[in-house]
Symmetry: C2
Subunit: 798 residues, 2 copies
């Protein structure tokens, strides 16, 4: 039988599937009873609040039906990423037709009773959302915010060499910045070791109220656009002005056949090739599918055009309960899909759909890649060989120095080696800048474009991915994690704000997914933020912003963790921990510059395990006595200034009982009712006292400490120093000086705040002296261009 004949035979079933999914999409938006239209539609069967969106659904189901045909025929595992917003009804409808929905939600049976629950729950109190959300089987992309579908798809395809990730992109979504740069995901996918992404751009012409740009440029320009991005576009168009849908079916089926064949040729060529030059230079395919918005919906409502216009975006027929004409039109619309041919008498999907239903995990709604079903355990090499040798048993001085992220880089290299196909490092051109370059001793950056002699560390199958887009890097990592693999993203602290909203959406995804029993836990999303606010010597004010932590702590406590490891060993221990967590977002802030290495590995383990603790070697505490003052600190630079301030005080005000407390797990500050890591009140009181002054040197904005600790007994005495939005291109010490976080300022704070201290003999003079040396440091820096030796040569003494 010719390919053409085969198509002719299979397309009626594809059309039936499409009609069934469309029918169920409309039913979900409108109905709360009689889902199979056994009787004439009655007002009471209509939801009182019509909250769905219709416009995008028909094209989503069209692609779904056609992908089913391909999967059944070719047996190629395929993930469906649904980009457009409000695609929920279509994706749910298809998952129900697949049988997956009833398997995962046993109360939504594959019969009329199940259908009644299915249609009612959509956009209904206690029900399911309108997007392809965590609640949607087979989804790894919410579709709510728009813009992340294609990067999720590219992340999912990495290290899945047999997988096709079909990604339907809305033409509204395509206007977002993140999506616009995602087309370049093809520069990173190695056809030898990775799967393929098949972008399917649905040009339905309109967004909420505006036309879309890509739908209005001339077709010749559209082709140039995609060829310019390195794709071979395949154009499918139809459904306008009453086109026979069968023509579109045929054209789309051929396009998908072409695309899958092309993908297989590219795979085969890359896998058979001995050298890069032997690989085919065929471009990867993408499909442009131009169909009317809300296709198959009402052409006109109350005399106004709807299908094919932006009026089809939401609910085409409104006021249906009270408007008999609209009610009749809705009934006609629903019946136009001929439900009697699509469902058996008991309401189950008609037998004609059976040949289009792939088996088991080949159903896109049941793909094991999409619900955490394929999580590979991460092999974690020993951190001990990488630890900095800190010997606190000698004379008490701790004078070792190390760059924390540089040390971590050595271990990350081992992690990469130990997990050759399940761990990746992502960064916006900052992996080396953040001093993780040791990974390049064992791997390279993935790169499929031409190379030249002056390039370094590029290879088609490198385990590091870098493009200068925080969006693309985070999105690919999310796609990689949501399909069960492991990794981290490293970026400059200030610029992680670029992906604030992506963080929000991913945290919300995890918050929702945690309540869905069939979604297995996925590896956590871990940020390593370096090149932080305090060390922007090169970059200045635009690069100084520690406010990501403020964004993070707003999300549900079950999901978010914030770590401020203060030296190399605490960073190693922290990273070893966070890589073992699931369903969380871990934010780790660590410096890349050489800094004191305070803690031995054992000490670091105990400290990170506790999350915070006394550093008796830095203070002057007498066991069993309450200190006069607590110097608390979180973050590497504030810790250095705090330890130095304690030393100043120790040496000059030896009677003062100083407690130094370092916080490495920020959420310890919060009440245990508010966060699972929260320190119990009695422990907090024991550590921070119930009434002594606390000078808290904090990495970020000072009010964050107040926000977290406002319920604590001693909160009224906590005086926080942190970043107060002062800074520029200057020396490291001048930065802490500008923001009043320097050692002299902290020591002066102690003099001012410990009751009675200022009136003691010599203290006024000491304060003057510290003011002077602080000023001298600035004068020196502004004259010489670097910090004075009494700052740069400072070491902890005992």
């Amino acid at each position: 039988m010719s390919a053409d004949d085969e198509l002719s035979r299979s397309l009626p079933a594809v059309d039936a599937w499409w009609r069934a999914a469309n029918y169920l999409s409309v039913a979900q938006i409108y109905l709360m009873g009689d889902p199979l239209l056994r009787e004439s539609l009655r007002p009471e069967s209509i939801k009182p609040r019509l909250l769905g969106h219709w416009g995008t659904s028909p094209a989503l189901s069209l692609v779904y039906a056609h992908l089913n045909r391909i999967i059944v025929e070719k047996g190629v595992p395929t993930v469906y990423v649904c980009g457009p917003g409000h695609g929920g009804p279509a994706m749910v409808a298809n998952a129900w037709l697949d049988g997956t929905y009833s398997e995962l939600f046993p109360e939504i049976t594959p019969d009329e009773a199940g259908l009644r629950r299915l249609v009612r729950q959509f956009s209904f109190p206690g029900g399911i959302p309108s997007h392809a959300a965590p609640e949607t089987p087979g989804s790894i992309n919410e579709g709510g915010e728009l813009g992340y579908s294609l990067m999720h798809a590219y992340g999912a395809a990495l290290d899945n060499p047999g997988l096709v990730v079909a990604c339907v992109i809305g033409d509204g979504e395509a206007e977002t910045g993140p999506l616009a740069t995602s087309w370049w995901g093809n520069a990173f996918l190695d056809p030898r070791t990775d799967g393929a992404v098949l972008p399917i751009l649905n040009l339905n012409g309109y967004k909420i109220a505006n036309p879309t740009i890509l739908s209005r440029i001339p077709e010749e320009q559209l082709v140039e656009f995609f060829r310019g991005h390195g794709y071979e576009p395949i154009l499918v168009s139809g459904g306008f002005d009453g086109d026979d849908p069968m023509l579109v079916h045929r054209s789309l089926a051929q396009a998908l056949d072409d695309a899958y064949d092309r993908i297989c040729r590219i795979w085969t060529s890359a896998r058979d090739a001995e050298t890069l030059a032997d690989r085919t230079d065929e471009r990867p395919p993408m499909i442009v599918l131009r169909t009317p918005k809300g296709w198959t919906g009402p052409a006109e409502v109350d005399g106004h055009a709807v299908a094919g216009t932006f009026h089809a975006h939401q609910v085409p027929l409104s006021g249906v309960r009270d408007n008999p004409e609209h009610l009749a039109q809705l009934e006609g619309w629903l019946r136009s899909y001929r439900p009697e041919d699509l469902f058996e008498a008991d309401g189950s999907p008609a037998a004609i759909l059976d040949p289009l239903r792939p088996v088991g995990g080949l159903r896109m709604s049941a793909s094991p890649h999409t619900n955490g079903g394929t999580v590979e355990p991460l092999v974690l090499p020993d951190i001990a060989p990488h630890a900095v040798d800190v010997d606190p048993d000698g004379d008490g001085a701790r004078t070792e120095r190390a760059g924390a992220t540089g040390v971590l880089g050595g271990w990350l290299r081992d992690v990469v080696v130990a997990n050759p196909t399940t761990f990746r490092v992502f960064g916006p051109d900052e992996v080396a800048s953040n001093r993780l370059q040791a990974v390049f001793e064992e791997t390279d950056r993935a790169w499929q474009l031409p190379t030249v002699a002056t390039d370094e560390h590029l290879a088609t199958d490198g385990r590091v991915i870098e493009a200068l887009s925080e969006h693309l890097m985070q999105g690919m990592l999310e796609g990689y994690l949501l399909t069960g693999r492991h990794g981290l993203i490293t970026t400059y602290e200030a610029f992680v704000h670029i992906v604030d909203s992506m963080f929000n959406q991913h945290a919300k995804w995890l918050e929702s997914a945690a309540h869905i029993p069939w979604r297995k836990p996925v590896p956590s999303l871990t940020y390593l933020l370096s090149s932080h606010v305090w060390r922007q010597d090169h970059n200045g004010f635009s690069h100084q912003d520690p406010g990501f932590l403020n964004v993070v702590v707003n999300k549900q406590a079950d999901v978010v963790r914030v770590y401020l490891p203060t030296d190399a060993n605490t960073l190693l221990v922290t990273m070893e921990h966070v890589f073992q967590t699931e369903n969380r977002v871990n934010v780790v802030v660590a410096g890349k510059q050489e800094q004191p290495a305070w803690l031995s590995l054992d000490e670091a383990r105990a400290h990170v395990d506790a999350g915070l603790g006394r550093w008796d070697w830095a203070g002057t505490e007498v066991d069993g006595e309450e200190p006069d003052v607590v110097l608390a600190c979180a973050g590497d630079v504030p810790t250095l200034e705090t330890v130095a301030a304690a030393q100043l005080l120790r040496q000059r005000v030896p009677d003062l009982r100083i407690r130094v407390v370092n916080v490495s797990d920020l959420m310890k500050l919060q009440d245990p009712e508010q966060h699972p890591h929260g320190l119990p009140d009695e422990d907090f009181d024991a550590l921070f006292t119930r009434g002594k002054p606390v000078i808290f040197a904090f990495h970020g904005y000072p009010t964050l400490v107040h926000q977290l600790a406002y319920r604590r007994t001693n909160h009224g005495n906590i005086h926080v120093r942190g970043f107060v939005e002062k800074g520029t291109t200057t020396t490291p010490f001048d930065m802490v000086h500008l923001n009043d976080l320097d050692r002299y300022r902290l020591a002066l704070d102690v003099l001012h705040r410990v009751p009675g201290l200022e009136s003691k003999p010599g203290i006024r003079k000491l304060a003057d002296e510290w003011h002077q040396v602080r000023t001298d440091a600035r004068v020196y820096a502004y004259e010489h261009g670097e910090d004075p030796p009494w700052i740069t040569d400072w070491r902890l003494e005992r």
Copy 2:
């Protein structure tokens, strides 16, 4: 004289300018003495910390020199937007050669003494940053975060019909999402009424440590890429392998001639055309300039290739003070520009450069568009005709209802009409969705692409700009504001997080600019956030996030303002106010749904003026007596719930003295030491009492109130209800119920927290009753799909 001859005559001067700028760029990075190399270079003339970046500078100066030639020849006013990061040295060098730098910074004289200060201040404590920052004359784009140059350029070109905005884009920057979608700015610029943007993509091949994508795709593909975006690319390439720079000069000069000629033809055609069809269909030009990274710098250092590789990104020669070989190499590099030909004996720029220096404001560094010099006053029509008629003098009931943003839309329409060339509305396809559609009664959306019959409100010269990119909309608005015009951006509250980082950068720009005397104030950036967290009936969890306020309050208090107008009239008054402000970021959060209109216009004026105040008509206060409890609220939905809770309490516990306080200016909560709007402590104490329970119903995350008010006397008694990250697609009342912000919960909070109240007769029973009716509301909603009538029909009674 032929054009070719003319070029031959002018190019030596262009080359000299370029060499002078390069010389000064290198000098800024390295030198702190002897800027003209009067002697052999000595170690002490080298900065101790070498913090600059060289890689991008030569191409920036090349373009600058060539644009000077064009401006002098053609007299077309041109703004230079410098996209690449670390372009500061080049832009400063050119501004000094222009003469502008010495005019604006009188201590940086146009002579050797000035040069000494000029080179020393760069990336030096107390000096200037390495980016094209606010400190850089002629800059409207920081270049620090990367990605916003082209959108700033498009914003600057709007309504400046004679202006060319030349925008140099780095090939690293071009990988960011925001830049990737900015190419579509050409869909909005009307050649009849707007200026032109001339993008100049500099392909220098490398980012920090990676090659760039656009530099590695085949040239044919690159051409398709730009044609696909609707441009006519003009390719200029050279400088590799010792190419004669004069060849590049000739080629770039011709490219710029072509581009300007093309722009003028497009302008003329559009302005002469009677109909759209008469306009030329010539595409706007863009230039691809391929030059080596760090061109003219050291080809090799210590045997490793530098120029043309990513090793040229930062400081090509390190350790210069201590490494005599590097010192010698630096001297050779500097002398290679032949400074003796470029500076007069006194250190002023050589006469050969004079013909390339445009006069006055035609100098790009002195363009009046770029430093607030062209701010047009905004004409503000009367808000009174738009006010909702609220009559509080009747029986005391306030039962008017209105959608706040819908009412505002009517006034915005008048603002658009009153400011036909200086005010614009930007939105990511949400202007109508946020109910501002009244503006379309008088204007349209700007749109240069083909239209079809089903489009609505599109025109080439519309005053509203919409693309589905929060980035592009905010960036174009920033460009519009920074060049002295007015506008606002309206977006969904949750998705404003997409531009968190752009907000940060703009706020930092304003913070820095405020200290630069020659930068005139610019109109404020105003966000109207609607479709907020509490009314996501259609969209659910992914659209619920009020955390932008947390990001905003971290920035310097002089710059940020947050308003939560609670009804239509307070919104009108608030917007009238914010449009009159300068150098600020105003965040206004307002609902679009129908809500009670509580305040008459006069009341609203007084309330907004105060920023917060007692609503005696809602409480049960007796003048002169302290209330038993304060019910505070901020935001429209929390206010409704608070007023309803007060009514419950009024009717059922009539002896209770309740004070209702509404906060419309959030920063009133903060200490006046921390924010200029902060309420003095004595006033705060008078309003919130010094010891009574305060139940605060807040629009956003509850901890934000604690963060702002933690210093207040009565802070320990403030109990905040707000969004606690619970929500989904459900009814409006169920949303407040889910987050414990509903009227019953607030009333129950009062019962629990007013000392002794719970033990009074009947109170326990009342509490049970309220618990029950709260539960009943949910049961009703989950059964009927809508809120019960006792919620939807609720009205304030007295």
